[in-house]
């Protein structure tokens, strides 16, 4: 019936389809659903289609399980959907898209920080700080 539709047929101005993660699960137990939705919708709200899932916590065999419906993903990408950054990174890791540059940059930064030899000696004084 039409009168019930006034809340469901929310009309947005602008906005586009994105493929992003919707968070679900319980306290201290996250679970992501990879979802195609309007960009203006709530993160966990009504979506167009679920394209997969990701369990960020490792299971008994020490692996993080992710499922991706590649056929429907290709369909939505063909319809002009955009991807959120974590979704791009995940697809880069999966091999569906090329590796995201931030993944590479993050790895380099981490390595540089780990390779810094002994941390600079802790100074009591604030060093070249701003003296009032």
């Amino acid at each position: 019936a039409l009168f019930a539709g006034s809340h469901l047929l929310k009309g947005y101005r602008g906005g586009h389809v994105v493929i992003r993660f919707a968070l679900g699960g319980c306290t201290n137990r996250p679970f992501f659903r990879i979802v195609a939705a309007h960009s203006r919708r709530a993160r966990d709200g009504k979506y167009l289609e679920q394209l997969g899932c990701l369990d960020p916590l490792p299971n008994a065999h020490g692996e993080r399980v992710a499922g991706l419906n590649l056929e429907r993903l290709r369909h939505w990408l063909g319809c002009g959907a955009q991807l959120s950054r974590p979704a791009e990174k995940l697809l880069g890791l999966a091999g569906f898209l090329p590796l995201h540059p931030m993944t590479v940059t993050g790895a380099e930064r981490r390595r540089r920080r780990a390779q810094e030899p002994a941390a600079p000696p802790p100074d009591g004084s604030p060093g070249p700080g701003d003296a009032p």
């Binding site: 997969g52 490792p58 008994a60 065999h61 020490g62 692996e63 993080r64 399980v65 992710a66 499922g67 991706l68 419906n69 590649l70 056929e71 429907r72 890791l93 999966a94 091999g95 590796l99 993944t103 590479v104 993050g106 790895a107 380099e108 981490r110 390595r111 780990a114």
Partner: protein, 301 residues
């Protein structure tokens, strides 16, 4: 080591082989349709004429034939070892591996893409065990569990065999594993070895596992116990089918050549076979004698 072509070495799926194995399996309706544990319902009684009873028996035989279709016997599968990408600079970014499964509904499970990104950055195809687990998680099948039950380990199989539940464990194995997985083959071989050791052939008769067992025994030339069992139960046709199958699979043995030349049938075939190929000659001769005496007394009386 002969390089036998396909025509020379018959495989499990050949029509002739399947016919022989099916004849040997027998069709004991009472055992095939024995009550399976279901929810408790009071029995239904139907009043039928002779013609209707025949019709019902005929339908039952057709359904029994379907239940007796033999599960395939395949070679053990090769482990998957394929690296898709090596990105060594990702080392140390993650601590655990990622397993990605392609959830497209319309592709068969054998062709599904399941890849693993290791913490050292290598993107490889998943091993067969990982594949089976992931497919069971996302496309669950009836009777199959994500982690195979502990009962399939060797030390627990012993208990199962002591309780004479070979058929149940084989049914569970078919539900749980793929036919070409090493676990499936291992469980089946253990079951067949145990049956052969204790001569419990009747447990599998009239089930769909009988053909596989016969195939295994004939390939390893351990058919003596089965022969004795068949002669004791007066199943001469089955003995001849067994020996025919043996000759089909091992055409270079003496008794095969003798049978070819002499075109022997029935008891003669068995006698030639026993003389040349069997280890337990004495037992089989005794059994044959007992059978012939029984035949003589029954025809005389």
């Amino acid at each position: 080591p002969p390089a036998e072509g396909e025509a020379a070495k018959p495989s499990f799926a050949d029509e002739a082989v399947q016919n022989l194995l099916y004849k040997m399996t027998g069709l004991n309706l009472q055992k095939v349709f024995r009550p399976v544990k279901k929810e408790l319902k009071p029995p239904t009684y139907k009043l039928m004429t002779e013609a209707q009873l025949e019709e019902a028996t005929r339908k039952a035989i057709e359904e029994a034939k379907e239940k007796l279709i033999m599960p395939p016997v395949l070679k053990e599968r090769e482990p998957i070892d394929d690296v898709l990408a090596e990105d060594k600079f990702l080392e140390g970014t993650e601590t655990t591996k990622y397993v990605f499964t392609d959830l497209t509904y319309s592709i068969p499970h054998r062709e599904r893409f399941i890849v693993v990104r290791e913490p050292n950055g290598v993107l490889r195809k998943a091993t067969w065990e990982e594949r089976d687990r992931m497919i069971q998680i996302f496309f669950p099948k009836e009777g199959r569990r994500v982690i195979p039950p502990v009962v399939f380990k060797d030390e627990h199989l012993v208990n199962v065999f002591q309780q004479d539940r070979h058929e149940d464990i084989l049914n569970m194995c078919i539900a749980q594993f793929e036919p070409d997985s090493p676990d499936y083959i291992r469980v089946h071989h253990r079951t067949y070895d145990d049956i052969e050791k204790h001569a419990k052939y009747d447990l599998l008769r009239s089930t769909r596992h009988f053909g596989g067992m016969v195939w295994y025994l004939v390939n390893r030339k351990k058919t003596d116990g089965l022969l004795i069992d068949m002669i004791h139960r007066d199943l001469l046709d089955d003995t001849t089918s067994l020996i025919t199958l043996y000759h089909m699979l091992h055409p270079e043995c003496q008794s095969a050549k003798a049978a070819e030349e002499g075109k022997l049938q029935g008891v003669d075939l068995i006698k030639v076979f026993v003389k040349t190929e069997s280890q337990k000659e004495g037992y089989i001769q005794l059994a044959l004698q007992a059978y012939e005496e029984a035949m003589a007394t029954s025809t005389a009386s």
